[in-house]
Amino acid sequence: MSDVTIDLSAGRRPQVSTAGAGDYFALLKPRVMSLVIFTALVGMVLAPGGVHPLIGFVGLLAIAVGAGASGALNMWYDADIDRVMARTSGRPIPAGRVAPAEALQFGLVLSVMSVGVLGVAVNWLAAALLAFTIFFYVAVYTMWLKRWTPQNIVIGGAAGAFPPVIGWAAVTGTISVESLALFAIIFFWTPPHFWALALLKADDYARAGVPMLPVVAGDGATRRHIVAYTALMLPVGALPFALGFASAGYLVISLAMGGWFLYRAVEVLRAPAGPEGRAASVKLFLYSIVYLFGLFAVLLADHVVALLTGAGA
C-alpha cells in the first residue's frame, strides 16, 4: 500500500461547480439554435415525401442539440478570446460560471448523442451530415479559420448553411439540388450579416486578435465586400423559383426582400464614418436577421399554400 497525499492547498482544490441549468443552456447558443431549428424545419417540410411527425420532431431535436453542442465546443475553445471581448465576456466560461472542462465534456457528449439519435431514429445520411457540420464548425471554423484569415466567416458560413440540407436528408435520405439551393441562400447571406456585426465590434475583435475583415482590411473594404456579397446573395434567393419548388409569388417577395437588403448594404457603404455609419451597420445587421427568417418563412408559407391548393408537389 502506498502513501498517497492529495494536495488541497490553494489553487489545487477540487472544483465544485456552481453552474445552473441556465448556464449549460447558454452554452448551446440558443439564438443561433433558433435559426438552425427553423431552417432545418423548412428543409424538412419542403422535402418531397413525408415523415412521421414524431420522427420529424426527434430529427429536429437532434439537429438542434447537435448545433448546440458545436456552440458549446466553440465556447470551450474560444474562452480566451471571449474573455477579452465585451460582447462575449459574459458567456458562462469567461464569466467563471462553467469550467472549461465541463463545457468540453458537455459539448462532446451532446455531439455523440445527437448524431447517434439522428442516425438510429431517422437515417444515417442525416446523421453523417450533422456530424460533418459539427466537425466543420468546431475544427475548421473555430480552431482553424477564425484566427487565421479574414475569410473566416465566408468559408465557415457553410456550417450554418447545413441545417436545411440535414432536414431535407432526414425526410428523403438524399441530398438534392433543391436542398443545396437552401444551403446557398444561407451561405451567401452569412458574410454580409457577420461583416455588419464586425463593423460594429471591430475594436473588440482587434483586442482579441481575431482577423475579421474590418480589423485586417479596414471599414471601407468591409463595406465594399458587404455590397458585393449582398449583390451575389440577391439572385441566390431566387433559386427556389428557378428550380421549380417555389412560386412566382415567392420570387417577387424574395427579390423585394433582397432588394431592400441591397439598399441597406449601399447605405452602409455611403454612410460617413462615426455615428451615422454605425447606425447604418446596426440597421443592416438587424434587417439581415429579418431577411433570413422572412425568406424561409415565405418559402414555408408558399409550400403550404401550394399543398392546400394542389398547385405543387
Binding site: L8, R13, P14, V16, S17, T18, A19, G20, A21, Y24, H52, L54, I55, V58, L61, A121
Partner: protein, 53 residues
C-alpha cells in the same frame, strides 16, 4: 467550499446549484426515456404487426 478532516463541505450556494443540475438531468433523462419509447413504437409499429408468422 471548505475542507476539514471530514472532507469537502459544500456551501449552500454549491448545494443549491448541484440540486438544480440534478433535477435538470433527471428531467432530461425521463424525457429521453419517454421519447425513445415512443420512437420505438413508431419505428416498429407496422413492421411488428405485419411480420410473417
Amino acid at each position: 467550499m471548505a475542507e476539514d478532516e471530514d472532507g469537502v463541505r459544500l456551501t449552500p450556494e454549491q448545494k443549491k446549484s448541484r440540486r438544480q443540475r440534478s433535477i435538470a438531468i433527471a428531467a432530461i433523462l425521463v424525457g429521453l426515456v419517454v421519447l425513445f419509447y415512443l420512437v420505438t413504437l413508431v419505428r416498429l409499429g407496422g413492421n411488428v404487426a405485419e411480420r410473417a408468422i
